[in-house]
């Protein structure tokens, strides 16, 4: 027995709090050299926060990071790379218009002197890249324009870059979320090769089958806490799911008093123009129904509702509203058919931060506030905004306050008011309570339930399992762009939803309906 350290990386007792949330409490992660260590948990379990602590993006409140038996001080991503930790991000960000090799050696080009001039040594850079790729058995032209590569090739490029830094630990965040079956096999080959050389991989994924195949050990987190670490041979899909979700549902949702009515919207065989996005989606939405839309990262739920709102292209499929076929090619089409969308990225596509609550309320509906001269009737608009502030109990000093000065929950209420003023029949809500504190969530839930009672139909994307179960009449679950099941909300269990959400496509066959309705 040699006295080498059993762990290449130890994160000991990491805690991190954000205002209002304990994101991590006393989490420990120990990674052995030359292993694939899976990190699992629901959305919001704290995996990303933990990795951001490892990468110096967040500073943990408590705990320490030990590398090769020595305590490491990591306060920036540069420190992390220098200490031998690299991360392959879920969304890869190379410089699109430059060559592959320039992306790999960016910031550390090999140089040479030509007379008085110091020039980039292209030959050496090309050769180094070739050697690196040959070493990993990658078939990529170092001189190709990076933007012309497939997602999987760009990912391989990022892995090669990590290897070129001599990284001991490589973090892969959802590496297969945008890969096809074949590309996943290639990725696994690369991972195996790295493991053989003693590189450790921290592998974040929701896909059970992948994890059980590739991982040596699995660490499971829930609600910012460590549940435990097990060798993957001791785990099954069911065991992982139980340990990931196992929690009780508290009374956090308003009582449901309405019953859904006749079908309003019929969606048949909807396919995105992007072959990697949603395909062959069919469902029905009834009047006064809340249809929950569940799934994991990469399930293409946002893409689906954005397509219903005319923000994304459709290759094929039918939309029938009230018995009449409709076509939606732009958000203004959608508005005309009384469809409203509350987007997920409130700050990016929702609020106009420098405008007031009043202006933010009426902006989607300015046509209604014209006076006889065709000018904006400000008094009428203000009254409407004030009425909505009262109705939704938005906390704001006045309707003239800039919306950016409101809390997230109150901003969300203003946005809800904005879309309610368009008098929609169908409300598409994309993560309506994201980033909103618990108290305000209940109020949003109450508003949503009230709208359903008024007869409005609601499609609500949520990545929070309790929210999905607590609010939905029915829950439609998607995985990899396909609908994997539609279940009744009453009586559905977290495990059931999770199983559907994690369902992987076994075959590449097309035209197969994957829909499967589970009765209770």
């Amino acid at each position: 027995m040699t006295m080498t350290e059993p762990y290449v990386l130890e994160m000991r007792g990491i805690s991190k709090a954000f205002p209002g949330v304990q994101a991590l409490s006393d989490v420990t992660l120990k990674v052995r050299p030359g292993t694939v260590h899976a990190l699992m948990g629901e959305n919001g379990a704290g995996k990303s926060t933990l990795m951001k602590c490892l990468f110096g993006i967040y500073k943990p409140d408590e705990g320490e990071i030990v590398l090769d038996g020595r305590k490491a001080a990591i306060s920036s991503s540069r420190d992390a790379i220098a200490s031998g930790i690299s991360m392959i991000h879920q969304e890869l960000h190379p410089v699109q218009h430059r060559s592959v090799m320039e992306n790999i050696w960016l910031g550390r080009f090999p140089m040479f002197w030509m007379g008085p001039f110091r020039l980039v040594n292209e030959k050496r850079m090309y050769q180094d890249t070739l050697d690196l790729f040959r070493d990993l058995d990658l078939d990529i032209d170092p001189k190709a324009r990076t933007g012309s590569l497939s997602v999987s090739k760009i990912q391989s490029l990022e892995i090669a870059k990590a290897v070129s830094f001599n990284s001991k630990v490589i973090v892969m965040d959802e590496p297969t979320s945008s890969l096809t079956g074949n590309e996943v096999e290639q990725l696994f080959t690369i991972i195996n090769r790295l493991r053989m050389r003693g590189v450790s991989i921290i592998y974040i994924s929701h896909k059970m089958e992948e994890i059980l195949r590739i991982a040596d050990e699995v660490t499971i987190m829930r609600d910012g806490c460590l549940i435990g670490t097990w060798p993957s041979t001791e785990l099954t899909t069911d065991l992982i799911i139980t340990r990931m979700v196992g929690r009780d549902l508290k009374e956090r949702f308003p009582q449901r008093t309405h019953t859904p009515g006749a079908p309003l919207l019929k969606v048949e065989g909807l396919c995105s123009v992007n072959p990697k996005s949603f395909q062959d989606v069919s469902f029905e939405l009834r009047r006064g129904e809340i249809l929950g839309l569940g799934g994991l990262v990469g399930a293409q739920r946002t893409e689906l509702v954005e397509a219903l709102f005319g923000m994304r292209g459709l290759a094929s499929g039918k939309l029938v509203m009230d018995g009449r076929p409709i076509r939606i090619k732009s958000p203004s089409d959608a508005k005309r058919h009384n469809i409203a969308l509350l987007t997920e990225e409130r700050r990016v596509t929702g609020i106009f931060p420098v405008l007031s609550v009043y202006e933010n309320t009426i902006i989607a509906n300015l046509g209604r506030y014209r006076n006889r001269l065709g000018l904006l009737d400000e008094r009428k608009g203000r009254e409407e905004a004030e009425r909505n502030v009262e109705l939704l109990r938005t906390k704001t000093p006045s309707v003239s306050t800039l919306i950016r000065n409101l809390s997230g929950g109150n901003q969300q209420k203003v946005l809800l008011a904005r879309w309610l003023l368009t008098e929609p029949d169908i409300l598409l809500l994309d993560e309506p309570t994201r980033g909103i504190d618990v108290g305000a969530k209940f109020e949003i839930y109450t508003i949503i339930a009230g709208l359903a009672k008024e007869g409005k139909s609601i499609i609500m994307i949520s990545s929070e399992m309790p929210e999905l179960l607590g609010m939905s009449d029915r829950i439609m679950v998607m995985s990899e762009g396909r609908v994997t099941g539609i279940v009744e909300g009453k009586g559905a269990t977290e495990a059931e939803i999770m199983r559907l959400a994690a369902q992987q496509r076994r075959t590449e066959a097309k035209g197969n309906s994957h829909e499967l309705t589970i009765q209770f």
Binding site: R78, H93, P94, V95, H97, R98, E122, S148, N274
Partner: protein, 339 residues
């Protein structure tokens, strides 16, 4: 596989569309009037395009970083006046500096270039250190530099008189040429422009600064996490551009044999137009030296050629406007992603 090679062909044509347009333009004008294909025409177009090319190359540096530089034209005016004011023949009646001895011609030229470089340095510092958007920062220097130049130009005893009577050993760099015999000749200014373009090509393609410039314009976040000192690179790039405008201003004085404080007015817009027509993206990260050269030549050919075949100057403006917009509309299609 087939799809891929088809895509390659399309990409190949798209990348070179600008040169195809240039050739088509020359052919079209030559059909209208075959005399257009004389050597003297080519020489005149190149001579007129030389300073424009140097300014456009400066603008290309900035555009590729994702910025924009509105001060270029006013820097040209400033350095034209500064260099001309020190290079008048000593027998000339209205000398800017009546008692100035005859300096070696290189000194005022270098002073002009350094003045341009300093303005660029100021632009760079305002943008990279104070985080003022390039449009605003260079709008400010554009206005301010014109003020500085006008004060200088209005000094006693000149009092805003156009500066004339420039020395032959200076003006030859703008209007002189090497006689090749048999009616052929190459203007010095064309050789200078070609030399500057060559140096720029090396900087763009072979130096760390050039590659960092593309990375910063292409994805500043990626550049930052790759350990590139973004601020320092930006400042250097703005300084180099300023020096190029400075050189262009000096050459404008030499070419025209004089200078006023209004020299160079709005040249920055011509330079930006030539860049975007030559495939430089105003969003940053894309652009080549041959592309910029083609962009400048297209406008050179239009200016000269359309006049040559008798198209009215007003129609020329309309044609130029159409070319700018359609070139960019076409270019954007190359990079548009399908949602």
């Amino acid at each position: 596989m087939n799809l891929q090679s088809n895509f390659r062909v399309k990409e190949y044509v798209a990348q070179r569309a600008i040169f195809i347009v240039l050739i088509a333009l020359v052919v079209g004008i030559a059909i209208a009037d075959p005399n257009f294909l004389a050597f003297s025409t080519l020489r005149d177009i190149l001579q007129q395009s030389s300073t424009r090319l140097i300014i456009a190359l400066g603008a290309a540096f900035i555009l590729i970083t994702g910025g924009v530089d509105l001060s270029a034209g006013r820097v040209v005016g400033l350095t034209a006046v500064i260099s001309a004011s020190m290079l008048q023949i000593d027998t000339y009646a209205n000398r800017f500096f009546p008692d100035l001895p005859q300096l070696w011609v290189g000194i005022p030229i270098v002073i002009g270039i350094v003045a341009g470089l300093l303005v660029g340095l100021i632009n760079g510092i305002i943008i990279a250190k104070l985080h003022v958007p390039p449009f605003i920062a260079t709008l400010g220097t554009m206005v301010g530099i014109y003020g500085v130049n006008s004060i200088y130009f209005n000094m006693d005893p000149n009092q805003s008189q156009p500066i004339g009577g420039l020395r032959k050993d200076f003006t030859q760099w703008g209007s002189g040429y090497i006689d090749l015999g048999g009616g052929y000749s190459i203007p010095y200014i064309v050789l200078i422009a070609i030399a500057v373009a060559s140096i720029c090509w090396v900087i763009f393609n072979k130096t760390r600064l050039g590659k960092n410039m593309y990375a910063i314009g292409g994805n500043v976040q990626a550049a930052h996490v790759s350990g590139i000192n973004v601020a320092r690179n930006l400042i250097m790039i703005y300084a180099i551009s300023g020096a190029l405008y400075g050189l262009a201003g000096v050459l404008e004085a030499a070419r025209t044999g004089g200078a006023t404080n209004n020299y160079g007015n709005m040249y920055e817009l011509d330079a930006i137009a030539a860049c975007v027509v030559g495939g430089v993206s105003t969003a940053g990260g894309i652009g080549t030296v041959p592309g910029v050269m083609a962009g400048v030549l297209i406008f050179g050919v239009i200016n000269y050629g359309l006049t040559f075949i008798g198209v009215s100057p007003y129609w020329q403006l309309i044609i130029k406007g159409l070319i700018i917009v359609s070139a960019v509309a076409f270019d954007i299609r190359k990079y548009m992603a399908k949602k």
